[in-house]
């Protein structure tokens, strides 16, 4: 039967075509045991579609089982695999080796998140901030009664918020933001963009209560429109835009 040729999506051991190699440097650090971060180096062959996540998992499988890294979907929709790749926060599964244009790839845990071990970081703060801005439609009739129809919404109205709804909570924006670099209490671009996502939804009636939540000393005002959040966002969310539009309400530019 012709169907038996297996496909090595989880990476076959024998490469099918001659391929180039890259040096992968992985930051290793277990705060419970180690006093400092060390780097381990591996030389890994790659092909044109190989991603950084692929080679990290290659290392985990064949060289060192103990690499701690978070991953799941491998298609840039689950937001697990954010890390610092050659100095910038990116999704490992959404970054091809060929795009990096470098023979050495250094992967480190994302900044501004506490390290659990190696590349895996804690997300509690991001989840809490997200929770804080009331990320749901606020209105009294959001529980449906038996034969009720949908709330009508035109494609144009959907367009007002859909881009912000694309956020996968990967935290790259929070890792790139200059305020987050020093401020442990800042709500952060991820949550602020989500606040705008709901405010901009024509079905929502919770604008005022949300504005009140983010109008505090470590709220929206700690954003200085540096824009780095938008530059690293892998999903085109453009949190910087959402935040400034949201602030427009507070400054009275918009109503």
């Amino acid at each position: 039967m012709a169907q038996v040729s297996s496909i090595a999506e989880e990476q076959a051991s024998t490469p099918l075509s001659p391929s180039k190699s890259v040096t992968l440097r992985i930051a290793r650090f277990n705060p419970e045991h180690d006093s400092e971060r060390k780097f381990m180096e591996f030389t890994i062959p790659y092909k044109k579609w190989t991603t950084v996540l692929d080679i990290i998992l290659e290392v985990k499988k064949y060289f060192d089982h103990s690499v701690a890294v978070r991953y799941s979907c491998r298609q840039a929709t689950c937001g697990s695999c954010g890390m610092k790749i050659n100095g910038k926060p990116m999704l490992a599964c959404f970054t091809k080796i060929t795009e990096l244009d470098s023979d050495v790839i250094t992967v480190e845990p994302m900044n501004n998140f506490p390290i659990i071990r190696d590349l895996a970081v804690r997300f509690e703060r991001l989840f809490e901030s997200h929770h804080k801005i009331k990320p749901y439609l606020i209105r009294d009739d959001s529980e449906i009664t038996s034969n009720e129809k949908e709330f009508l919404q035109s494609p144009k109205e959907v367009e007002q918020y859909i881009q912000f709804a694309n956020c996968i909570k990967c935290g790259l924006c929070n890792s790139a933001c200059p305020t987050m670099a020093t401020d442990s209490s800042f709500v952060g671009p991820q949550a602020l963009a989500q606040a705008y996502r709901y405010v901009a939804d024509s079905r929502d009636k919770g604008k005022n209560s949300r504005l009140k939540i983010i109008d505090e000393s470590h709220g929206i005002w700690r954003c200085h429109f540096a824009g780095s959040c938008s530059q690293v966002c892998p999903k085109g969310v453009d949190p910087a835009m959402g935040i400034q539009l949201l602030r427009g309400y507070l400054l009275g530019f918009r109503s």
Binding site: M1, A2, Q3, V4, S5, S6, I7, E9, E10, S13, L16, N30, E32, K48, W49, K60, K61, Y62, H65, S66, A68, V69, R70, S72, C73, R74, Q75, A76, T77, C78, G79, F94, K96, I116, R117, D118, A120, F123, F127, H131, K134, P135, Y136, L137, D141, E143, I144, E150, F151, L152, S154, P155, E157, V158, I162, A165, N166, I168, Y198, D201
Partner: protein, 570 residues
């Protein structure tokens, strides 16, 4: 002493089914304590990858009917669906789609403001509600965000559940490892909902998230519950090469063509009525037949494939309705679908089988329900229609959430906590796995195992290959892979990976034995040595019960209400 936590309701799994159940339970009774225990963080569950749509009748005023949805589902299932269950799904889902909308779901809309629907395989009406091509992601977001309204839901993010504790007939709790700290816990509870999703990573070429392994199925199996219909594994016709990431059926729903190397829309030969929008089992078989007849292409990795052509849809339509797969194909395959055709091949995509439940999602163990892909309530029979799975997750998430609360309100846990079972489990995983010894690399074993499944139990199956596959699996099982080289406690995914492998080996055995036993072709189970459906001998579900040596296989009747099996033509 093992650390202990207590909840009223334990939900294992934070995908669509788990979150929907949590909301229902939290809403119904704000006093009960709900714990969502999941080995990934809440928003990282596999469900976020669902792309194409959620089926449900919304336009009865424009000619659609629930009756038709039921029949399409039953016919799609090759008549192995339990028809009362299919009816329940189709009756309930329309309201659920609107409920999601009321919670903020960004469904794509028609110009008149109503929720839009698109064509999907096997349906006689455009019935799949969609949100561009990220329906699962947006549904997950809507549910996760709605969960934030409730104070009685707690999230145990990245906790690996290892076993179910019960006293022989009634649920008592679970054991789990907190991955970040490596600590082992017993979690007591009055009721449990298993929503651990599918196990498609049993195949190396799969659309699934890398975390989709059969741990949940296996823990239920080990606890004495039956696994049902495991031989039915759905192969989606269009997995993109080389990654295996899904190109949604919505791509064909919007008008995409499948082409062979003669440039023909070959589906004409196999399903002239529905063409590319025939159910998945039929399209996948057609692709493999074409390839076997020499009408396929070779991908640069050396793999046989077929082409999916979306160019005629135009750039704007692709951006608007298929933005996600556009991103995927440009990024991972370097192909812009508006300009070039895509290389695709059938790919492991869904498990029709799962934990045996009744129409309410109740398992054989009192106090335990199962919902979503992990459950097998019989709604999909031998072949699920596209867009019916997210629907199923929502409907039974809600049903089980509500029933579990009723149960909790009526029952108190008076029995003595079975400490010895916890100790037994601790021994199993720490002495048997964590501190095990051996030379075999568990990751290589996993690779071989999943490659074997790909080779031996793919779209077309036969006795010889299946038996060889089973032999291979048993060989692998005997090797010394049960050891964890990473000795640290914190975030030890080496440990969880080996535990996943442990459950994978048991589950593949069940799939292969079920497939060997079913000497007919039905739905997703297509045998070249028994090419016809055999309703006299095989119109029944398969059950597998745990035995340390080998699964005990049984059968279970199919519920037929209105529709007698007929030959399936599209």
């Amino acid at each position: 002493m093992t650390d202990s936590i207590e909840f009223d309701l334990i939900i294992c799994g934070s995908g669509l089914a788990g979150l929907r159940a949590a909301i229902e339970a939290a809403k119904k009774n704000s006093k009960i304590k709900i714990g969502i225990v999941s080995k990934v963080q809440v928003m990282r569950s596999h469900s976020v990858s669902a792309e194409g749509g959620t089926a449900g009748v919304l336009f009865e005023d424009e000619g659609d009917s629930i009756e038709s949805h039921i029949y399409d589902t039953v016919k799609g299932s090759d008549f192995l669906a339990d028809q009362d269950v299919a009816k329940r799904l189709c009756d309930k889902i329309s309201k659920e789609i609107r409920q999601l909308e009321h919670w903020g779901m960004p469904w794509s809309r028609r110009n008149d403001g109503r929720i839009d629907q698109r064509n999907f395989g096997g349906y006689s009406f455009p019935r799949a509600s969609y949100a561009s091509d990220k329906v699962g992601f947006f549904m997950m977001q809507t549910l996760y965000d709605t969960c934030q309204k409730f104070d009685n839901i707690e999230y145990l993010n990245e906790w690996f559940v290892t076993s179910i504790i019960h006293d022989g007939y009634k649920f008592m709790g679970i054991t789990a490892i907190e991955i970040s700290s490596g600590n082992f816990y017993q979690i007591k509870g009055k009721a449990m909902i298993i929503a651990t999703g599918g196990a498609g990573r049993l195949y190396s070429f799969a659309t699934y998230a890398l975390s989709s392994t059969p741990d949940g199925l296996d823990m239920a199996y080990r606890a004495g519950m039956a696994l049902k219909d495991m031989e039915f594994v759905q192969f989606h016709p269009t997995g993109i090469l080389p990654s295996g990431i899904l190109i949604t059926e919505g791509a064909r729903g919007e008008g995409g063509y499948l082409l062979n190397n003669k440039g023909e829309r070959f589906m004409e030969k196999y399903a002239a009525g529905m063409m590319e929008l025939a159910p998945r089992d039929i399209v996948s078989r057609a692709i493999m037949t074409e390839i076997d007849e020499g009408n396929g292409f070779k991908h640069e990795t050396g793999v046989d494939c077929m082409k999916l052509d979306l160019r005629h849809l135009g750039d704007e339509k692709i951006k608007e309705k298929l933005g996600g797969i556009r991103e995927i194909s440009i990024k991972f395959s370097g192909i812009d679908p508006a300009k070039e055709v895509l290389d695709i091949r059938p790919v492991c995509h869904y498990m029709m089988g799962g934990i045996h439940t009744n129409i309410d999602g109740a398992t054989e163990l009192q106090g335990v329900w199962a919902a979503g892909e992990a459950a097998c309530n019989g709604v999909h029979g031998s072949n699920r229609l596209g867009a019916n799975s997210t629907s199923e997750c929502i409907v039974w998430g809600k049903i089980t959430g509500s029933l579990a609360v009723d149960y909790i309100e009526k029952n108190t846990n008076s029995n003595l906590w079975p400490h010895h079972l916890v100790t037994l489990e601790e021994t199993r995983i720490y002495d048997g796995i964590f501190r095990g010894k051996g030379d075999a690399n568990p990751y290589e074993i996993r690779q071989e195992l999943t490659d074997t499944m790909n080779d031996k139990a793919y779209v077309y199956r036969d006795e010889k290959n299946l038996v060889e596959g089973l032999k291979k699996v048993r060989q692998l099982k005997e090797q010394t892979w049960k050891h964890v080289d990473d000795s640290a406690k914190e975030y030890n995914t080496n440990f969880t990976n080996v535990m996943e492998l442990d459950s994978m080996i048991r589950t593949t055995e069940i799939i292969l034995i079920g497939a060997i036993n079913r000497k007919e072709s039905r739905g997703a189970h297509a045998r070249t040595d028994y090419t016809k459906r055999d309703d006299t001998n095989f119109l029944h579900h398969t059950l597998a019960y745990y035995d340390p040596k080998e699964p005990i296989m049984k059968t279970h009747p199919v519920t037929i209400t209105n529709y007698q099996p007929v030959e399936r033509k599209y």
